[in-house]
């Protein structure tokens, strides 16, 4: 039997045989965790709004994001965040917490190779592509809005 055909058959067989994760369960977990993070962010902005009525919405939004980032980084350092993420899946990735975790976890991991070539060089190992794509797509969107 030729190898290509054998491999195609085998890959199809493996796909059938491999256990699938239940998408309904994953969605529900993501909804719970992602929702909780967003509720927390809303809570921070509501509290700020009631104490500092003169603060503008942009600043309040920034404070909400910063508080989520700080808490994520602390939880990453304590080794708790990966457990929450294992349960929540996309629920922790989509809010800003996923981004904060990807940088903090790399920083912890590569610190052993030194502050410059370890931590400094590899901190954006996972977040790097996200930033590069973010810049590229905001450029495209910016150009579109400039033209039309």
């Amino acid at each position: 039997m030729n190898k290509k055909l054998r491999n195609e058959n085998y890959i199809r067989y493996v796909e059938r045989k491999s256990p699938k994760s239940s998408w309904f369960k994953s969605l529900f977990h993501a909804f719970l965790v992602g929702g909780a993070i967003c509720v927390f962010g809303q809570m921070v902005s509501d509290i700020l709004k009631s104490y500092f009525p003169l603060m503008d919405l942009l600043t309040i939004g920034a404070w909400a994001s910063v508080s989520i980032i700080v808490i994520t980084i602390i939880l990453t350092g304590l080794g708790v965040f990966d457990r929450i993420a294992r349960f929540g899946g996309a629920g922790t990735v989509v809010p800003i917490s996923g981004f904060a975790n990807s940088i903090a976890s790399c920083a912890i991991e590569f610190k052993k190779e030194g502050l410059v070539f370890g931590l400094g060089a590899k901190m954006f190992y996972i977040a790097g592509p996200v930033i590069a794509n973010g810049v590229l797509f905001s450029l495209i969107v910016g150009l579109i809005s400039l033209i039309f």
Binding site: Y13, V14, K20, G98, C106, I108, E109, K112, Y125
Partner: protein, 334 residues
């Protein structure tokens, strides 16, 4: 002279003995189904070291020392060590050999290193190269994650068909003369690639390699799986083991209840490793504790150890290559 039987199996003219064996395992493995067989379990997987690579080396050192101690041997009694690990440049075994000024035959067989080193060492010793030789292999979950996957604290979900790299190192001491189970036949595996490129699905990638090796061994020796008390594959996991059964069934070879997979059996279901353990340490710790103990008290008389390895390079995988795999077989008798 050692004799070649069939296409790829070799029979040792002077079978060599495994005079001592032992393992040093991590805390998670120590809570698994084999906890009664593990004499040395780490409380903390860093073993007090500053990095996981150094911790892995410490696991190697400890298992070597404990095994030699159990056989009343000294480091200076060894002629050389044969072994390897799954980290780049075989750092764990290289640095262990450096620290004890030992001669080293370093082997890279990914997770198949235990049976590969047993096979190489037994052929060397039986043909007069060395009298007492140690086979040393292991892996560390956190060091492997770092090299092959993501940082430890990175929050992501593991695939349900993925496996968990075992933490631990195993050591077997082989001698030309002496008491203990004997290695009688070896079969070096073909590099097999059935086109799997998903690095999370190691079981499916490696099962064809185990299949090729077992098939050619049974044909060469004209035996069937029922002739052995135990057939143990290295780290196919639950999924890989099921695939291997299916593949062999197509060739009219049926694996019975005497078949087990070291990776699948290393952890309990509730330890959430999904398909079970993987890594070079997996077959190393199970073989050197559970299987060796059963061989010594004659519960098992004839055992086949088929450790499987995914010879995966993350660089070539990102360049679009699939995962080549290998499986080496050794037959141990008592």
């Amino acid at each position: 002279m050692n004799k070649k039987i069939g296409k790829s199996t070799y029979e040792l003219e002077h079978p060599v003995s495994i005079i001592a064996s032992g393992a040093y395992v991590g805390s998670k493995e120590g809570c698994g189904p084999f906890s009664d067989y593990f004499n040395n379990v780490a409380i903390d997987d860093t073993l007090g070291e500053k990095s996981f690579e150094k911790a892995e080396r410490k696991f190697f050192e400890m298992s070597l020392k404990e095994t030699l101690f159990s056989a009343r041997l000294k480091i200076s009694d060894l002629d050389y060590i044969v072994g390897g690990d799954i980290l780049n440049q075989l750092v764990s075994v290289n640095y262990t050999a450096r620290d004890y000024s030992l001669a080293l035959v370093g082997l890279y067989g990914a997770c198949s290193t235990m049976s590969e080193s047993l096979a190489v060492a037994s052929i060397m010793v039986s043909s007069g190269v060395g009298d007492i030789v140690a086979c040393l292999t292991g892996s560390h979950f956190s060091a492997a994650e770092r090299q092959y996957r993501n940082p430890l604290e990175f929050g992501n979900q593991r695939q349900t068909y993925s496996q968990w790299t075992a933490t631990g190192a195993g050591c077997s001491v082989i001698a030309k003369n002496g008491d203990g189970p004997k290695i009688t036949r070896v079969c070096f595996g073909k590099v097999t690639d059935f086109g799997i490129s998903d690095i999370a699905n190691m079981g499916a990638a490696m099962a064809p390699a185990a299949f090729e090796t077992l098939k050619s061994f049974f044909i060469d020796t004209k035996t069937t799986p029922d002739d052995y008390d135990l057939i143990a594959t290295g780290d196919l996991g639950k999924l890989g083991a099921d695939i291997l059964r299916d593949l062999l069934k197509k060739e009219k070879i049926t694996l019975g209840s005497n078949y087990m997979d070291c990776g699948h059996s290393l952890f309990r279901e509730e330890q959430k490793t999904f398909q079970g353990g993987s890594g070079a340490g997996c077959s190393a710790v199970v073989f050197n504790t559970y299987i060796m103990e059963k061989l010594k008290n004659k519960e098992f008389k004839k055992v086949l150890l088929v450790a499987t390895g995914a010879l995966m390079s993350t660089t070539l995988n990102q360049q679009g290559e699939t995962i080549p795999c290998i499986a080496h077989l050794v037959q141990i008798e008592n």
